[in-house]
């Protein structure tokens, strides 16, 4: 059920890497844990993130959770239509990208989990 073309973190983000750019969202497991999402706060374009740094917050009816960048890079795009309709994260978590990044260190992605490793983690 976890798309094989994505990589995953232990903090339950996914990242789709295509060359020097990437898009980031949260996993199906994460949206289930959160429940109904009502707010999404994302960074400004141009912000530089380190791997593991908080890039935003996601809030459901019952909880607040921070979003962590899976790799280091510069924010090149922000999905503002998602902040307008944050409940989309519940319906289509792996299609709901939050930020786009220009990846600064391709070697970092070596620590990310693949779909089967992530599936094991969430069992």
């Amino acid at each position: 059920m976890y798309p094989p073309d994505l990589k995953y973190t232990k903090d339950h983000e996914w990242i789709r890497i295509g060359g020097a750019t990437a898009r980031v969202g949260i996993t199906d497991y994460a949206q289930k844990q959160l429940g109904d999402v009502v707010y999404l706060e994302l960074p400004a374009v141009g912000r530089t993130l380190k791997k593991g740094e908080v890039f935003g917050t996601i809030e459901s009816v019952k909880a607040v959770s921070e979003l962590y960048s899976p790799v280091s890079g510069e924010v090149t795009e922000v999905n503002s239509s998602l902040t307008q309709k944050p409940e989309t994260v519940n319906k289509d978590p792996h299609g709901s990208w939050m930020i786009g990044l220009k990846v600064s260190d391709a070697a970092e992605s070596g620590d990310l989990l693949d779909a089967s490793q992530y599936t094991d983690l969430t069992k």
């Binding site: 429940g35 109904d36 707010y39 009816v61 607040v64």
Partner: protein, 371 residues
Amino acid sequence: MTQPGSAALKKTPLNARHRAAGARMVDFAGWDMPVEYSGIVDEHVAVRTRAGLFDVSHMGEIEIAGTDALAAVQRITSNDASRLAVGQVQYAALTTPQGTFVDDVLTYRLAESHFMLVVNASNIMKDFRWITDHVQEAGDAVAVNTSPRYALLALQGPAALQVLQSLTGIDLAGMKYYWFANGEVAAVKATVSRTGYTGEDGFEVFVAPGAAERVWDAIIDAGREAGVIPAGLGARDTLRLEASMRLYGNDMDETTTVLEADLGWIVGWKKPDFIGADVLRDQKATGVTRKLVGFEMIDRAIGRHGYDVYVDGRKAGVVTSGTQTPFLKKAIGMAYLPADRSETGTHFEIDVRGRRLKAAVVPTPFYKRAR
């Protein structure tokens, strides 16, 4: 996902039903309870528009009986229990000598000299010790913790009356709000009260634990056509907050008085002395310094439990409950504010994870059902 299967958690008689229905389970006050089944928003809207079925068997029951039972209840609770007819229910505070809350309770008058207090799950043992210590002062009265004898189901929503009526001979339409009757539900001996914690019409059904699954199944079956779904503690919390019903441990506790919690209407001012009455009378005469109010966020954010409140730039209180309401689709909550800054329309700020965001005092309840 891995679900907590800890043997240390207490389970209600409906635990297997929740797990079979795929509920997300959480540790609530030491109980393994369903927080949501289909989702908080879905369940919340179902209760507002159709009906939802809740397992609230974790709640406690403490019965007080004896020739001086009324005097005992009058001594330990804030409200005037002498105004209760047999078959009637009343909301009250179990008060400390400081006029604060040991707990908030529903008092059922089962018979002339026999009462049942329905208490919060987290407080059962504390309440029972407190009540045992204090009923003796009233004379011939004993308290018994009868919690293990009851499972408690709550069917809440506009369809509750029609669905439950199909399973019982009790005349539910003729039952007034905050009254109860004994009879059968799904051929099981039951006590049914027109009470709830959702701001919606509905009923609470007390049955023996061994019969709980049968009654649960019967209500789900009878309610299928009307769209009745199981609902968890998550929706119970958003529903009660929309109706501005207080939650013990969040909105009031042993540090807040009944008047500070803006619950003066549950104080029997004319009844004989009760624990904490002198403090509450003083506060009524001189006024409280802080008061629980309802608020709505002006900025886009949720002010949650424990967040600090700032008035005129100074820390002046705390948020006690806050959420995004699924039905009204607004960020609402309750907070303690200085009494002189608690009027409707007052603007203040809430520290939302380091950012001071605007909110305003609004009238409560946030939601009131059409009658």
